[in-house]
């Protein structure tokens, strides 16, 4: 069985801070990580490798420094890593990102494609289903659990108030939730190899058979025209009182607001 896991290198948004004076995003010193949903998807693939000897390839699109994220996936146990990187791909929205990834995937062999549900920098949850559509594959989103039965996957598909157990024939694509599994740590030997002896295959614009209209900024139907920091709501009153006084103060304020 051949599995391809799509991962994205993202800034750890929990560490992003705003400059209190200018209100702009402070990116310096913000660590880059493998997107959590994607990492859970990789773990699911590695478990299938442990169980059935599946071959796991990791694919990422991003700037050259995404190399680091891919080495981490190799150190976790992925067999191969491919980086799609070219200035021509930059500025892509989800539509162009998915069509670029789909173009690379169409030249690769797979039974199963796993993407994360969403990346923590954009939170769109779009690229997985869009890749499936470009490739004409069945997709199952929001996977909480995954197992393989013969030539089918059986997926626990999450909804707000229920889950469906869905069976689909491979090849297909699933989008993984972080809840699906706890990613393993890199092994010391794996880290050593990943940085010393393993190669990451790089694909550039000319390696893909895709129209210029379907990649990068030009291939993106949507465009960010403005970005800004949110206006902060007017600050209320903050008091430091002992517990009894604090309770009286809160109940008084709530009665003034007719909540009590």
């Amino acid at each position: 069985m051949k599995i391809i896991v799509c991962v994205k290198q993202v800034p750890d948004t929990n560490e992003v801070r705003l400059d209190p004076v200018t209100g702009t995003l402070m990116r310096e010193g913000v660590p880059s990580i493998v997107n959590p949903d994607d990492k859970a998807g990789l773990e699911a693939a590695l478990r299938l490798k442990d169980q059935y000897g599946a071959h796991v390839t990791v694919l990422s699109m991003g700037p050259p420094q995404a190399d680091l994220a891919l080495r981490e996936t190799l150190a976790m146990g992925a067999d191969e890593a491919v980086l799609l990187t070219d200035k021509a791909f930059s500025g892509a929205d989800t539509w162009a990102t998915s069509s670029t990834l789909a173009s690379a995937l169409s030249d690769m062999e797979y039974d199963l494609i796993i993407t994360g549900r969403q990346a923590i920098d954009g939170d769109t949850a779009q690229v997985g289903p869009q890749i499936a559509e470009h490739l004409g594959l069945v997709n199952i989103s929001y996977a909480e659990d995954l197992r393989v039965e013969d030539d089918c996957v059986v997926v626990k598909r999450q909804f707000e108030d229920r889950y469906h157990i869905i069976k689909a024939k491979m090849p297909c694509l699933i989008t993984a939730l972080s809840e699906m599994c706890e990613p393993r740590y890199m092994t010391p030997g794996g880290i050593f190899d990943a940085y010393r002896s393993r190669e990451i295959k790089t694909l550039v614009r000319s390696d893909l058979k895709i129209d210029d209209d379907n990649i990068g900024l030009k291939g993106s139907p949507t465009r960010v025209v403005k970005s800004f920091t949110k206006a902060v709501k007017g600050k209320g009153t903050v008091v430091a009182l002992d517990a009894h006084d604090a309770v009286d103060w809160i109940t008084d304020r709530l009665q003034e607001k007719f909540i009590l």
Partner: protein
């Protein structure tokens, strides 16, 4: 593609078990406002099986008309039959705007469709407005975990598609005696689109109030110290007729269920009263609750960002204050009842 050929605002109504999800009414309310700005109509699209009885409610909440695809293949949500039905509707009726709920269904269906009809899709919008000059839809959404906001246009493709999370827009007060014609639309090949097999459907038993429906939320974070202290939140919530919610940290720590989580990766809430206990107020959390009418925050750390959005903040130990507050509120309520 000729932009002028695309007219009207379309809302993709979500139903499960033949019950309409609240976000659909919220989207119709917003769609009506956008349609007024464009001097056009808002159309609700209802997909399902034996769903005719649901149409009247859509008119009450502001739909000018309903397009209904009623087909056995649409009884339970599956990506492909739903995508086929919506793609056919878009092709036939050419709307300029299509809105979806940013739910586990909408966030699967909408991207699949955007790739199929080759148009843009903006996720989890918090603001939708019409540019009066270009008539384009201006879609504003948070990015970088809510740290910044971005306004996005889809100027050269139609329809302009967006998803909106439940609780972000507000439904209109139901209209009395409205005319809302229903048109049945036939789409061929839906049964053939069933390319997966649903082996089992398991509904989560949840007797607790949905945090998006609650008027009062008592919310706990890491500062609660441990799961054993969440009973204090329950007691206060009971006294106030509300329910308990939580920060992501508490969910990650296993102190609270995922369905209790408020914030960017949880739910957006806007109760009348939100009491944040031991929650520092990461921007991702604030993004999910700052629209609450009144916010009370209790936290030991005077520098906690939660105090920036709180109407009333107390620097103190929630574990000491909560039991006293619950007793005090019970006493006040009992007194008022007696009066």
């Amino acid at each position: 593609m000729n932009k002028q050929d695309y007219k009207g605002v379309m809302i993709v109504v979500q139903q499960m078990d033949n019950r309409i999800s609240g976000v659909s009414y919220e989207l119709i309310g917003k769609g009506k406002e956008l349609a007024e700005a464009l001097r056009t109509e808002v159309t609700a699209v209802l997909l399902g099986y034996e769903v005719e009885s649901l149409c009247a409610a859509l008119g009450k909440y502001g739909a000018d008309r309903v397009l209904m695809v009623d087909d056995p293949a649409l009884e339970t949500y599956m990506t492909e039959p739903y995508a086929r039905a919506m793609a056919a509707i878009i092709e036939r009726f050419k709307p300029e705007i299509v809105l979806f709920g940013a739910t586990a269904i909408g966030r699967d269906l909408a991207p699949r469709l955007s790739a199929r009809v080759h148009t843009g899709l903006t996720a989890d919008c918090t603001k939708l407005e019409i540019d009066p000059e270009t008539r384009d839809l201006m879609m504003t959404r948070p990015a970088f975990g809510g740290n910044i906001m971005a306004t996005i246009l889809c100027s050269n493709h139609r329809p302009q598609m967006a998803t909106v999370r439940p609780g972000v827009m507000q439904r209109i007060a139901p209209l009395e005696s409205v005319e809302c014609p229903v048109e049945r639309v036939r789409v061929d090949g839906l049964a053939e689109g069933k390319n997966v097999e649903i082996l089992e459907i398991v509904k989560k038993e949840n007797k607790r109030q949905d945090i998006q429906e609650a008027k009062v939320l008592v919310s706990g974070g890491r500062g609660m110290g441990g799961p054993e202290n969440f009973s204090m939140l329950e007691k206060l919530a009971d006294a106030l007729g509300g329910t308990v919610s939580s920060s992501r940290a508490s969910v990650d720590a296993g102190w609270a269920e995922k369905d209790r989580q408020v914030g960017q990766t949880g739910k957006t809430v806007r109760p009348n009263l939100y009491i944040a206990c031991g929650i520092s107020g990461a921007i991702q959390h604030l993004a999910g609750m700052e629209e609450s009418d009144v916010i009370v925050a209790i936290n030991k750390d005077p520098a906690a960002p939660i105090f920036d959005v709180a109407d009333f903040g107390v620097v103190g130990d929630a574990l000491k204050i909560l039991p006293l507050l619950t007793e005090s509120i019970k006493a006040i309520r009992a007194e008022k009842k007696g009066a």
